[in-house]
Symmetry: C2
Subunit: 351 residues, 2 copies
């Protein structure tokens, strides 16, 4: 209910997803009468949806702390609750990010071994898989060295299950690639990373810079939620600026308009590659349950993309694999700490 | 000497600038024989250039601390020295950023009232002037509340003298526009900003997000050097990605290649608007002397753009105006602190 375009856009996105994929079942949260009416307008959709009546709405202006105290009865609370109770495998929301994260932490609780949960987003890239993973995109404005290492574990789990990469390459976002660059917690994480990479079956490529976010030398980019959020919005803003300039350039003369007409397919292909709606969906990692945050302003195409991502993760058994991976590595780290000078064999799973 | 493309690219850039602008005189620093030979190849350039013999080179891998100890005799040291001695109005370098900033701080010293100098860069924007100013782009990975306020003063001085804006609008980069968002030093700077804006004759628009960097609701974006550096490189990387995708899209079929040919002027116009070489030049602010840092990999076009920027700033008397503005505001702040509860009239200059 709390997205910028209201429940009509959400139901339209559900309808798109339902049509494309017969295996998804939906639990829709909001005021029953309003939701029923919206669903009834789409032929065949009612049979695919359960409705959970929830009269309240978390608005974009509500502070997370308010929502924690008074949020029961809202559609957001109800959606998270359906994951907690095991009725839903994944929750998808277009609402207030801070409130959704706070509610998810309160109700789903953090996974053992996770201090700070993170939001992972997809970034269009030059890699064969077409996307890189970046986290944290804004769950928490701080992250210490151990958090950054945990982000690497969670991000590689996501890359394995969401993007099908067997051995993801991880980079730490910094202002330079030299060892002495960056804040103390980054240099410390940089030192911890090789051992974790070996134990958890990923490659650590070292420090990367902002220009590497779309590069093909890395699959998972780890950073704190402040930097990640600024980078994400800067990237989106830049892509939009270039797209707008492109439109202006092609609208300038009759000749260029004609050229644009001829190049329509090429331009559409380009637009598809950089369309932020296609990569819609920040995934909350590190909780006992998966939550996908769609852009607040997402239209039906964007919402359908977020649902598709949620479905993929649900089908891959991502949640259990990630939990096992983090718990295993946390246990290994603890064991390593107590017997630091002995040699140890680490079993390597596939999660 | 320390740029990625060596002295040939620098001399080529000097030649471009010399041809476009008869009012610039150059002092060129490096091994005399090599530099003389490069300059002699360009007709008429020798008469426009003085050469300062400097055998040493600061490489991209040199640590700033090493350069401070052993950098005397390098071309970088010599270039900064020529500003210190008043022989040059501005220094331009393509070399190691960290070393250049450390050397500039050591030799030129910080302006009274400045704790942390900053690097300001230009960002292609939707504003009539075509660019926004962002600082700090990487001089220092930290910034406290008072530093951020000083960045606002220095950035507005730059926007007045470099972009011709009478009353620049300043925004603080954050992860949201709400008052409770962000790190403590940002919330504190947010509180200090309105009074500073009034005293220093700029508009404070509040918190802005990464997506606002190219926006027309702000002219100067203030942030710490870590975030600024990541944002800058993310923006450049994204623009390059979209540009490459565009090229690929137009190279796909014969029809689209033909379309690209027809749209050549439009595409060139677009390329010009987003060409990072055109906005080449990070300006070091807060020192007793102006230093312009060109991209390490700049070609002659990029170097010429950096020289043009340096020339503009030199002609506008920017250095003295900025110094006066910072000193005046520092004095006002001190006076305000000692007589906090009295009413005071603040004189408003035009610097």
């Amino acid at each position: 209910m709390g997205g910028d375009r209201g429940p009509a856009a959400v139901v339209a996105g559900i309808a798109e997803s339902a049509e494309k994929n017969p295996d998804i079942h939906f639990i829709v949260h909001g005021p029953r009468a309003e939701i029923e009416q919206l669903i009834a307008r789409r032929s065949g959709l009612a049979a695919r949806c359960d409705i959970r009546d929830a009269a309240g709405v978390v608005t974009m202006d509500d502070k997370p702390s308010q929502v924690l105290r008074k949020g029961e009865g809202t559609s957001m609370w109800s959606a998270v609750e359906s994951v907690r109770l095991g009725e839903a495998t994944v929750a998808v929301s277009c609402g207030n990010t801070g409130a959704l994260m706070a509610l998810s932490m309160l109700r789903l609780r953090k996974l053992p071994g996770v201090n700070r949960p993170a939001i992972a987003c997809l970034w269009p890239s030059r890699n064969p898989q077409g996307f890189n993973v970046m986290l944290d995109c804004g769950a928490d404005i701080r992250a210490d060295a151990q958090d950054l290492v945990t982000y690497a574990l969670m991000g590689t789990s996501y890359a394995r299950n969401g993007l099908g990469l067997a051995r993801p390459r991880v980079g730490l976002l910094n202002v330079g690639t030299e060892e002495h660059k960056g804040r103390p917690e980054m240099r410390q994480a940089h030192e911890l990373m090789p051992a974790t990479a070996e134990a958890a079956n990923f490659d650590y490529v070292g420090f990367v810079e902002g220009g590497d976010l779309p590069s093909d030398r890395v699959d998972v980019i780890v950073t704190d939620g402040f930097t990640g959020n600024v980078a994400l919005k800067t990237g989106e803003g830049t892509a939009k600026l270039v797209g707008d300039f492109l439109k202006e350039a092609f609208g300038k003369s009759i000749l260029s308009k004609f050229a644009a007409l001829l190049a329509l397919n090429s331009l559409k292909r380009l637009q598809k590659r950089i369309d932020p709606r296609r990569v819609n969906g920040g995934v909350f990692l590190g909780l006992n349950g998966t939550v996908v945050k769609s852009h607040g302003s997402a239209d039906s195409t964007g919402i359908s993309a977020a649902i598709k991502l949620a479905f993929q993760l649900a089908q891959s058994g991502f949640q259990d694999r990630l939990a096992a991976r983090v718990a295993q590595t946390a246990a290994q780290a603890a064991a390593l700490n107590t017997t630091r000078n002995e040699n140890q064999d680490h079993s390597e799973g596939t999660s």
